[in-house]
Each structure stands twice: as C-alpha cells, then as structure tokens.
Symmetry: C2
Subunit: 234 residues, 2 copies
DNA sequence: CAGTGGTCTAGACCACATG
DNA sequence: ATGTGGTCTAGACCACTGT
C-alpha cells in the first residue's frame, strides 16, 4: 500500500512492528518471533526482516541479543537526536538576518582551569576568542572560545574579525569528536551587557569540547540570549 | 585486522572512509567514487559498501543522492544523541540513593496556557501532579506535570504517593511521540524552596510533551537542582 | 536518457550467548 | 550443543534525478 508495488519492504515491517507494540499486542519485555518466522509471516527474506528489526533496535524500541532473541524494551530508551545547527543557519531558519562581530582575539597561556579541563600540558598556549552572534541586530549568542595552538597551529595566522571561529574550525579541522553539555548559568555584569539582559538573569549555556584523534582542539562556551529554547522531537 | 577473519566488513569501510575525511584526502564537498568502484577497491560487494555509506550518511558525515552520488558534507551535520534517562537511573548511576516524594495530586480543568500548548478542547480536565526526586536526600529534581484525563482515563484511579507519574505512564502508555525542550529558567520562591537554592537562581529546566498517536498525553516541566549538566558525546 | 543509490532475494557462514 | 542474530555474496530490478 505504501509504494507502487506490493512487495513487503523493511519500512512496512517497521510500521507493523511499531503498531503491534503500540496496540499492546507485543507488551514490554515480550519476546518477538525470530527473524526466520517473521520472514515467513511477511513473505520476505530474513535479510529484510533483519534490517527492519535492526533499525528499530537502533532507534531504541527493541533489544536484540544472539540466541536470546528480540524483545520489546520495557523502558523504551528513546533517544533524542539534537542536530546542533550552526548559529548562522539557526538564525536564518528563524527568519532573522545573521550578523557576526568579533569582541577580542589574543593568544595566551592556558588558564589553569582550562589546562585541567582539556588535560593540557602546563603552560600550553591557546588562542582566546570572544565574539557575538546577532539576529537582525538583536543579541543572540555570546561565544567564549579557546583553541589549542599545538593542535591547530594555523590558528596563529587566523583572523577572526570577519569569520567566526567555529566556521573557521569547521573548514580547517575536518573531523572531530565532540563532548556537548547544556546547563543554566547566571549572567555576570559582562555577559549581561553583551546579551542585553539584567545581571543575575538565567542564561541557557552550551559547552562544547572538541577533540581530533585524542588531541584537544577547542573549548567553547556559548551563552544564549533570554528566552532561548533548545528543542527536539522523537 | 579488526576481526579474526580477513574479509572486508562494512565497519572497516566506515573506518577507512572516516580516515580519508579526517586526513583531508576527501575534502568537504568532494564527490566519492560510486558504490561499484568502491566495491572493487575494497574487494567486496556493492551491498557492503552501501551499508557503510548509508550509515555514515545517517550519522551526518555524508550526503547521498541518486544520480548525483555521495559527497562529504561541508558542514558535518553531527547529531547529538541524548539518551534521556529515567530520573531514578540517572541518580543511581551517579551513586546516589533515589527517593521519591509526592507533593500534590489533584484533578482540575486545564489552565488556559496548557489548553493552548497541547491543543486541548476548552474545559478539558487534567490531573495535576507535583513531586520531588531526591538523590540521597538532596533535592535533585522538581517535577510539575499535567496528564490529560481523556487520553489516559485510568489516571483518575492512579495513586502517585509511592510511584512517580513518569514511571506510571511508562507502564501504562507503551509508546509515544515526544517533544523535548531544554531551557534556563529562574527560581521563584516556591521552586527555590523545593530545590534548596536562592530565589532568582538559574535553574536548568526540561519540558516534555508526550503524544500518543496524535493525542496529547502529558506535559511535564522538570526543574533540576543547582549545578545540573546534561551531557553527551558524539 | 542514463547514472547513481535504494532495496530485495536466496543462500551461506559465522559469532555469540544461553541452556 | 544449539538457536539466534550479524554479516557477506552475487545478482537483480527499480526509483529518482541531473544532464
């Protein structure tokens, strides 16, 4: 029904399985028939059943173990997938006009807390960049970023007056591991000025540590203007 | 090398492709060889190459289009996958002892803002539950939840004095769609009391709306104690 | 139109975990 | 020891889309 043809596709199987879970036909913790039996029921090959069940397991609905079989997860381990947008995209998607402004850029010895946080060697040098992102000239995000010079030597020649450090890094360091943290912090006087809020106001904050093959590359704190919400559906 | 045998697996291919992206051999926006060519290079079938590339696309590294081929994404759309833990699991995983306490439970007519938020009919009735989650007797989370009675009629007989509403819902409503939002809010006097912080302090907050086949089931605001961080790696 | 990925089949061998 | 999922092969047809 879903497609032009009448073959049973892995998508059909996924839908049917979800339907049976929703309807209670397959209760939490219930053991599903094995792949061979389902293949017979759906008149397809085991390969097709395998793909359907594998994806459902990947999405957090099922648990699969060799020999033990496939079960409905009792506490559906649903996973939220946040696609972390680039600031510019996020602003433009909301209909705003993006504007970037550099606040400060200087090389310095890494402060102690950063050395500890990124497991740097003592006295390792870093580039410290602070900048603002505006949506139609309204403050949107204040970014406070450190870049480890030993990991990205080219950064010493970089000029962040017209391109944001994140855009620059994305072009320069092709692939990375990321540790992302969300928290609520309190606007100090400086931050309050940048974001145009009162001192002491709550500020939604994201911290992002980036690694390139085990080497710490950058630590960024991103402070969002009042009213910001990070949303997802799943 | 990775396995006992010497066959090229889709995992090997994924690793190799990532390596080539990291090393810059395949620059952002570069067009990869097509599946048939890669199958020859890796001495495997196109099916195996397909799985490797399909997963990498799914993970946000590649973009695939029929006829146009497979490209390295210029701005790697990495997706953070938050596994939203049950409060009890989260506390116990951190080594704490979980304690639950009901604060209030009553049925009422949905307030206007909730009617709007969940697209309810006017004057629809809801169960309003407020409760606390403690980690070794330290406040961990204050939960403020509304449950739509028409969507879950059994809730009128539910007693949340010993089981949390979330645990109850997970057992009762097997499968749902979820809209999850993170934000920073400000502790009012009531909240400050529950979480043992000063009034006005920033509070990390999660809002969760749950739907069952298009029907709104529940809206929950979860306020976390000071210092809470929501982290993920990817 | 033609090239590329999307998917399915039929069959096989194997890794792993449980009884 | 054995049943279950994990993966690969070899081949096929098709859907989409850029030229």
């Amino acid at each position: 029904m879903t497609q032009t043809s009448d073959t049973t596709s892995y998508k059909d199987i996924k839908q049917t399985v979800l339907q049976r879970i929703r309807s209670g036909e397959w209760q939490p913790d219930a053991l599903l028939p094995n792949e061979q039996e389902l293949a017979v029921e759906f008149s397809c090959t085991r390969t097709t059943v395998n793909r359907a069940l594998r994806e459902l397991a990947d999405e957090g609905f099922l648990e699969r173990r060799r020999k033990a079989g496939t079960r409905v997860l009792s506490a559906p381990q649903r996973q939220a997938r946040f696609t972390i947008p680039l600031v510019r995209d996020e602003i433009e998607a909301a209909g705003g006009t993006y504007r970037y402004a550099l606040v400060s850029q200087e090389t310095q010895t890494a402060p102690d807390w950063l050395t500890a946080r990124l497991a740097l060697r003592v006295d390792q040098r870093v580039m410290h960049v602070r900048c603002m992102h505006f949506s139609t000239n309204t403050p949107f995000q204040f970014e406070d970023r450190w870049i480890v010079i030993d990991s990205v030597p080219q950064v010493e020649q970089a000029d962040f007056s017209s391109i944001g450090p994140n855009d620059w890094l994305v072009q320069t360091v092709p692939f990375t591991n990321v540790e992302l943290t969300f928290l609520a912090s309190r606007a100090d006087a400086t931050l309050a000025g940048f974001l145009d809020v009162s001192e002491g106001e709550p500020v939604f904050t994201a911290e992002r540590i980036t690694w390139l093959q085990g080497q710490p590359v950058t630590f960024a704190k991103m402070y969002f203007a009042a009213g910001y919400r990070m949303s997802t559906e799943f």
